[in-house]
Symmetry: C2
Subunit: 189 residues, 2 copies
């Protein structure tokens, strides 16, 4: 059998060569790198919401999606006046953060040829309800702190895995959005 060329080897389920195709494409013109992600949400009743992840724009193309693909129910637990028909919105934020840092780490490792056998994470975050309820102006409504502990195993020394975790945290779109904040424009249509 012919030996694979380095760009065709699959590391962590990703062809390292594939990681450089977007970079090459972007160097042809910056519009390729501009993505726009779209979501719709409908309130059902009480704390129950149903969101649908829609088409997205990227690589100069609008990518249509079947609207039955990604539909997510949200609710609150009974102690927060809901009926637990889905995870809460604040849970979804942690889910997205978990996946984003992990995938960024996996892509960075693949680009370096580091083969990973495990990436598990535990996340938790503190919210003081006095902010949301308007009881105290001194208490912010949002997360006061979010902690994420990664358990990573692979064919690299621990120092290199720690460096990959640091780089993934800096490069992850969701981690960057949460840690640095972003411009939020909310309007009544």
């Amino acid at each position: 059998m012919a030996k694979s060329t380095p760009t065709q080897q699959v590391v962590n389920g990703i062809k390292p060569g594939a990681l450089f195709q977007p970079i090459d494409a972007i160097e042809q013109g910056p519009d390729v790198s501009r993505f726009n992600f779209r979501v719709e949400n409908s309130w059902v009743n009480g704390a129950h919401n149903r969101a649908t992840v829609n088409e997205y724009h990227g690589a100069k193309t609008t990518h249509r999606r079947d609207k039955t693909y990604f539909v997510y129910d949200m609710d609150e637990p009974p102690v927060l006046l809901g009926e637990d028909r889905g995870a809460g919105p604040v849970d979804y934020l942690l889910v997205g953060l978990a996946g984003c840092v992990t995938t960024t780490l996996v892509y960075l490792a693949s680009a370096r040829g580091v083969s990973l056998s495990r990436v598990d994470a535990e996340l938790d975050g503190d919210i003081d309800l006095r902010g949301m309820l308007g009881i105290s102006e001194d208490v912010r409504p949002g997360y006061q702190v979010i902690r994420m502990k990664l358990m990573v195993e692979g064919d690299a020394p621990r120092e290199e895995l720690a460096e990959l975790v640091r780089l993934a945290t800096r490069r992850s779109p969701v981690a960057d959005t949460i840690s640095h904040g972003t411009s939020l424009q909310v309007s009544l249509g």
Copy 2:
């Protein structure tokens, strides 16, 4: 039939009286208002991750959850080297934002006795992949801007609905986390 007392009337699926029970409880002692939300995530392969929303702590109690309840697959679309086995992490962030602003709006409306017949939302956000890919240090990896347009109908004049949207945006835990940023502590376990 006996007329309902105001605190028993259900508005938008929420008993307005129920909204004040947490406030009364919190005034007995601030520990009641401290919540901690917990999520676990496991990398599967490539861009595929599976997150589980766990027990949460709040109202001085740890609330156990069946771990089969809220399980979420994440992946990337093919153009971002995944296989679309779930929405992307950046989509989950928008989903959580949508649900959080909406539920906060519904609770605020219920507390005022405003009955809502519709709360729909369209969200979109811009990400330039040059940040995540490390092509340009001048481009942030995260969302550059997130827009959320709410379509709200209810038995209040438009100015009051607009005021509710503004207040919900300020009080929503996810909106506050995203717009002001929060402390993120990521570690290798």
